[in-house]
């Protein structure tokens, strides 16, 4: 069934519209002709078949006209939504670029400030280290405090 719908969606709108109205018009014409030919002696016997074909064609035409109307409505709606999606995808990409730039700029600022502090510490190293011994316990505690808790848990060092 899907391939029928797929094939149907591949046919241009104007072709479907033309075919639909042609079938509908033929049906109406045949129906009207079937009412008129009763006055023409030689072909008045064809009244019933002509009327039947007219009604059938009119039915098919009406079916496709209705279907085409809905199909057209959906195609228009899909086109409208696709245009909206294209616009929104463009905006999504803009957001990504804007945030990327913002993050890179902010991180650069942090790096610059931290580098300045690093140099200051180097400059004042002697002053900072004067009369201060760091005990091995303090080093161990420091390293423990900066270790990922999950890592501490897995090595059993959390105590």
């Amino acid at each position: 069934m899907w391939y029928l719908q797929f094939m149907y969606s591949m046919i241009p709108d104007t072709w479907i519209e033309l075919a639909t109205y042609a079938i509908l018009a033929t049906g109406v014409t045949f129906y009207i002709l079937s009412k008129l030919i009763v006055w023409i002696p030689f072909i008045k016997n064809y009244k019933i078949p002509l009327e039947l074909i007219g009604v059938i064609l009119y039915g098919i035409g009406a079916f496709y006209a209705g279907g085409y109307g809905v199909e057209k409505m959906w195609r228009d709606r899909v086109e409208e939504v696709q245009a909206k999606v294209r616009e929104l995808e463009g905006r999504q990409a803009e957001v990504v670029v804007r945030i990327e730039t913002k993050v890179v700029t902010k991180i650069k600022k942090v790096e610059v400030i931290k580098e300045v502090i690093k140099q200051e510490i180097i400059e004042k190293e002697k002053l900072i280290n004067a009369n201060c011994d760091v005990s091995p316990d303090a080093i161990e505690m420091f390293n423990k405090s900066v270790t990922n808790p999950e890592q501490l848990e897995s090595t059993g060092e959390q105590k």
Partner: protein
Amino acid sequence: MRTLLLVSVLLAGCSTTPVPVVMKFPDAPQSLMTSAPDLNKLPADKKIELSDIIQTTNANSKLYYELKIKYEAWQEWYKEQKAIADQLK
């Protein structure tokens, strides 16, 4: 004539399956896709002084602020992308 009218009313308006329209899931900024680094530890192979501790703390706080920036950027990315996606409904 009545049959024709009935047929018209019954058959007109038959629908077909609509084509689904999907929006592409937005990309995340590349700088946010990196994994979080571990904090720096004091070196075990040298004599540690107070300045080393301050240097390491400075380096660790740098890592923290970088992650803070990325964390806030993720929130901003989510809020803005959600607001955009909500416009399609």
